[in-house]
Amino acid sequence: MGTGSDMYRQQILDHYKSPRNYGELEDPDFSHTGENPSCGDTIQMDVKLDEDNEEIEYVSFTGDGCAISQASASMLSERLVGMTLAELEDLETDDITDMLGVTISPMRIPCAVLGNQVAKDGAKIYQGELDPEDYGETITEE
């Protein structure tokens, strides 16, 4: 019976049950929120940069929703530290599913990439490449 709930390997459940870097930063360089309406997932990512405003020094997140979206944001909060904003911009869906280490079914991809999209959009708004008027909130959909 069953194929062993492949999407929910220990790592994902661990990050879901005990999220890393959970909370809001007091003085982030940028903070952005997003939603995946199909799941009702929400994520806020707060990012602190180094002195040159290039390298990510610290990330925290808050959110609510399914295990895939929350675990993905939690793992990402660790993964992003030490990356430059340019490297963040290059993070693709494949990088996120690699990070998660499991096969994500197509319907759940928007859950998996929500945190990443929020971080990327936040960075772009910070760099003046996106208009916060239009990107007040990131939305991921199928």
């Binding site: 019976m1 069953g2 709930s5 009702g40 929703g65």
Partner: protein, 425 residues
């Protein structure tokens, strides 16, 4: 009811009529159909979303396309006449099925949603205004809720929502308060697709008629699963979808009392719905064609006819008995777990579906895990977002049953739910 009791219908024989029930799942989803990596027998418990299709229904479509495919009402050649007769007779079959007076009262639409919009536009935009109210319920499907919400916005009418109690039943005192002299329409769902609540549509229709308002019954979940008689309910309008009652997608039904449909202006204009056209003006065809503009879904209408025939062979009272048996069984099995919340009324008083959540497991995670067990259910807001706000849940899981489902399939569901509980514990 104990697990030993026999089913009210011959489930084994019925299952043999549905080829898809033999398929395995579990593999790659990017190419449709069974592949080598699909190894687990499908447990299909998403019937409230859409039902599966028996051979007889598919055969009727094949027969139409292979032997009398033609446009209707347009040709005097034989194929067109045969297609026209079959298409028109499908209206008679539907009329008989729900106790309507005749084909004049049966309009084929795309689905329930379009039937709802037809009345909202053709009747609502013309009749509603400031000072009027439309009364509906907190448990409406978006098909009804969003439609009346937007029509009320455009006309200035007030939209009122009958509240639900802790068991997901309508608060009838509140209904009595809301339905008043300003009310022009009371639109309510017969069986809630999220809660399984069976609403007292006769009583509410009576209350509507007392203040000279009309009633619109959303029968999307009731017509497929139990005997529904528009005469008994005295509903002014009723809507349902073929794809939830063993029929194909692409066709739904609007029932309306003849004198009301007579008084309404068309909602779509074009061919097939006119009698006489000049450059200056047009007159309309008789009912129901006045509301069926353009080439209709002919094969689908013929297949809906076949689906109804299939259901009538089983007998709608038997279908209902089977639904109730499975709903109660599923309710009782899931209710054994303290961390499972079931929405809606108790197991012995609900339609054939169970909506629930497991503490600490998001409904979409649950649905994914159940999918790993080859159990197909629906997870989400089930097109009832405001209701989910009222329930305080972003989403819920829903298992829904039909004539081919068994207790063993519900056991598979419960086993998978238990697995999810333990995984997330």
């Amino acid at each position: 009811m104990s697990t030993q009791d026999a089913y009210p219908i011959d489930v084994e024989a019925i299952r043999a009529d549905f080829p898809v029930l033999d398929r395995n799942v579990g593999g790659d989803v990017t190419t449709p159909g069974e592949g080598e990596d699909d190894t687990e027998p499908l447990v299909y418990l998403d019937n409230a979303a859409t039902s599966q299709t028996p051979k007889a229904v598919v055969d009727s479509i094949v027969d139409y396309y292979y032997s009398y495919n033609a446009n209707v009402h347009r040709g005097i050649h034989q194929l067109s006449q045969e297609a026209s007769v079959a298409y028109e007779e499908a209206h008679d079959t539907v009329a008989d099925f729900i106790g309507a007076d005749g084909r004049e009262e049966i309009i084929f639409t795309k689905n329930t949603t379009e039937a709802m919009n037809l009345v909202a536009y053709a009747w609502g935009l013309a009749e509603l205004g400031e000072g009027d109210s439309v009364v509906t319920t907190q448990m409406e499907h978006h098909a009804s809720l969003v439609t009346w919400q937007q029509i009320c916005k455009r006309t200035g009418a007030e939209l009122r929502f009958i509240e639900i109690d802790d068991e997901g039943r309508l608060d009838m005192e509140h209904a009595a308060e809301l339905i008043d002299d300003s009310t022009e329409m009371v639109s309510l769902v017969h069986i809630s697709n999220a809660l399984g609540t069976i609403n007292p549509v006769e009583k509410i229709t009576e209350m509507a008629h007392e203040v000279d308002a009309y009633s619109f019954v959303d029968g999307a979940q009731s017509v497929p699963t139990r005997p529904v008689d528009v005469g008994e309910i005295d509903a002014d309008f009723l809507a349902f979808s073929s794809h939830k009652m063993l029929g194909p997608t692409g066709i739904g039904v609007l029932y309306g009392k003849e004198h009301l449909l007579e008084s309404m202006q068309p909602y779509l204009y074009g061919g097939d719905m006119i009698r006489k056209v000049t450059y200056e003006d047009s007159t309309w065809e008789d009912l129901p064609w006045k509301f069926e503009a353009g080439t209709p879904s002919i094969a689908q209408a013929i297949a809906l006819d076949a689906a109804i025939e299939y259901l009538e062979d089983i007998g709608m009272a038997n279908v209902q008995a089977h639904e109730e048996l499975l709903a109660e069984y599923a309710y009782d099995q899931l209710n054994r777990y303290d961390d499972v919340t079931i929405y809606g009324p108790p197991g012995d008083d609900r339609g054939g579906l169970v909506g629930f959540n497991v503490d600490g497991v998001h409904a979409h995670d649950l649905s994914s895990i159940l999918n790993d067990f080859a159990v197909a259910i629906r997870a989400g807001d089930h097109c009832t977002q405001p209701l989910h706000d009222t329930l305080g849940a972003a989403a819920s899981a829903r298992a829904s049953f039909y004539v081919y489902n068994t207790r063993e399939e519900i056991d598979a569901l419960v086993e998978a739910v238990d697995d999810a509980r333990q995984l997330f514990a």
